[in-house]
Amino acid sequence: MVQLRFFASLRETLGVGDEQVELPDGITDIAALIGWLQQRDETWRTTLGDSRLHVAINQTIVKPDCPVSDGDEVALFPPVTGG
């Protein structure tokens, strides 16, 4: 299982904050995981297609080619705006 987490505008647009998913065979990196989630519907396709999307695995920012595996916490969020 992978723990998905969505924040801020992503959470609101997708209508989900936390979600656990079973990684399908062949989904081994972030880019593939995002592509798989985008197949859900038009909202997911558009929202996760934003080039400014940030990804963190286990609370550390990573690139789209970063491997993802069972037990990971994968967070997707828009550019940060604190401070």
Binding site: F7, A8, T60, P78, G82, G83
Partner: protein, 142 residues
């Protein structure tokens, strides 16, 4: 020292602690306070909500503190960031660096707030007269 909290903080109390802890060794303390502005993109701001990513936030701020202490010769470092609902004029963030020399303290303080604004998982949602919206680029503070 890093802190993430809903409650307000008192810059005077933090600065006095830095002073007394480093009395004699620190010749300079540079601090930054970020506050909620009442105008952004010509929208009047009524309130603001700060969301964050619990767990990752603390890791991100701790990483900023570590890098800052490695890069400059400091006697003390503070990062405090608020979350939750705030109003114009409210304090959002406090960053301070103490050093024997002021150049070090200025560079460290500016680095910390610059890096926080790109690396720490906080998101601002503004409540304006034209509706609510997530801040996308220039945030509501300086």
């Amino acid at each position: 020292m890093i802190r993430v909290q809903q409650d307000d903080f008192d810059p005077g109390v933090e600065l006095e602690q830095v002073r007394s802890k480093n009395a004699g060794t620190a010749g300079a303390v540079v601090s930054f306070i970020g506050m909620v502005r009442d105008l952004n993109d010509s929208n009047t701001i009524r309130k603001m909500t700060l969301e964050h990513y619990p767990g990752m936030t603390e890791k991100a701020l701790a990483a900023i503190e570590t890098t800052t202490r490695e890069r400059w010769d400091l006697t003390d470092v503070i990062i405090i960031h608020r979350i939750g609902t705030l109003a114009p004029g409210d304090r959002i963030v406090f960053v301070a660096a103490a050093s024997a020399h002021r150049e070090q303290a200025f560079r460290a303080c500016e680095y910390m707030i610059d890096t926080l604004k790109t690396d720490a998982p906080f998101w601002k949602k503004e409540v304006t007269d034209n509706g609510d919206h997530w801040v996308s680029t220039a945030p509501g503070t300086g």
